[in-house]
């Protein structure tokens, strides 16, 4: 069955169905992370002795990771712009960089987790580590999802550019919406977990 209004806006909403669907998905993602942020507030306000994040966590690594993730958001939007300008070579370079930066983020995050495990800090250690691992772990899963999605559009998925360039551009825009959302979550996670 053909899904309708993929490249032409649906007259009822003024949007393509793909974009509307992506925004509804992101709305559900906001509620998913919202529940966990709410759990964080509950744990923190309910405890008598909450540690400062910078005393337990590696701020320089997380700072570098913040810059990397913001950088990857910019390369993603530049990939979309290059594709909109029909410059496929540049599109591939920017999208490739986006995937690469996401992988660097995961490697650094993995190093951080490794250090924590070496010092026997686990999600079961205390409430701080429980919510830290839950929030950053769920976020890291989203990064992995983004890597898979963008790597698909970089290699097999990009065949669509030859058959239907307009729909492919919409796909990249929606993939971008998701990727910027993942960046946006980290913009809040970084100060909340590491700096306060």
């Amino acid at each position: 069955m053909q899904i309708r209004f993929i490249t032409k806006p649906n007259p009822m909403t003024g949007l393509t169905n793909a974009k509307l669907g992506t925004w509804c998905f992101l709305a559900s993602e906001i509620m998913l992370f919202g529940g966990l942020f709410s759990a964080y507030i509950l744990l923190r306000t309910g405890s008598t002795d909450w540690p400062a994040g910078y005393e337990l966590l590696n701020v320089p690594l997380a700072f570098i990771n913040t810059l990397i993730l913001i950088g990857s958001s910019v390369t993603m939007v530049l990939a979309w712009a290059a594709l909109a300008l029909k410059d496929v070579r540049r599109f591939r370079i920017w999208l490739g960089l986006t995937v690469l930066l996401a992988i660097v983020f995961l490697v650094i995050k993995g190093m951080e987790y490794g250090h924590k495990f070496e010092h026997h800090h686990f999600p079961s250690s205390n409430n701080f580590y429980a919510i830290y691992f839950t929030l950053t772990g769920l976020h890291a899963l989203h990064i992995i999802g983004g890597v898979v999605l963008n790597a698909y559009y970089l290699f097999p998925g990009s065949r669509m550019y030859k058959t239907d360039p307009e729909q492919f551009l919409y796909r990249i825009e929606c993939a971008g919406l998701y990727w910027h959302f993942v960046d946006l979550v980290w913009i809040f996670l970084f100060p909340v977990l590491y700096l306060l």
Binding site: T13, M31, V59, F63, S73, A81, H180, F190, P191
Partner: protein
């Protein structure tokens, strides 16, 4: 999107300026934490800076500056329920 090449090139310049501002604000976030303000002030300031950064990403990278009404409607509804979710822990 059937936008002109000129329009997109102008957008790219905006993206790069937003990138620069985001980098500066990230440094500001970390700098604030070195001031060792009282917890209340530190939380307020950190959330203000994070919200500015998040707004920049949403407005420019996610193209919310020029989006259709229905997306704003969905996001307003989400923001409403999100706030309720955040307020629940404080309702004891």
């Amino acid at each position: 999107m059937a936008e002109s090449a000129e329009h997109i090139q102008k957008q790219v310049r905006i993206y790069l300026s937003v990138f620069a501002v985001l980098m500066v604000l990230t440094v500001v976030t970390v700098a604030i934490s070195y001031l060792h303000l009282s917890t209340g002030k530190a939380i307020a300031l950190a959330l203000v800076v994070a919200s500015i950064k998040a707004s920049l990403v949403a407005l420019y990278f996610m193209h919310l500056v020029s989006e259709k009404k229905i997306v704003y409607a969905i996001l307003s509804l989400t923001a409403f329920f999100f706030l309720i979710l955040l307020l629940i822990p404080n309702l004891q």
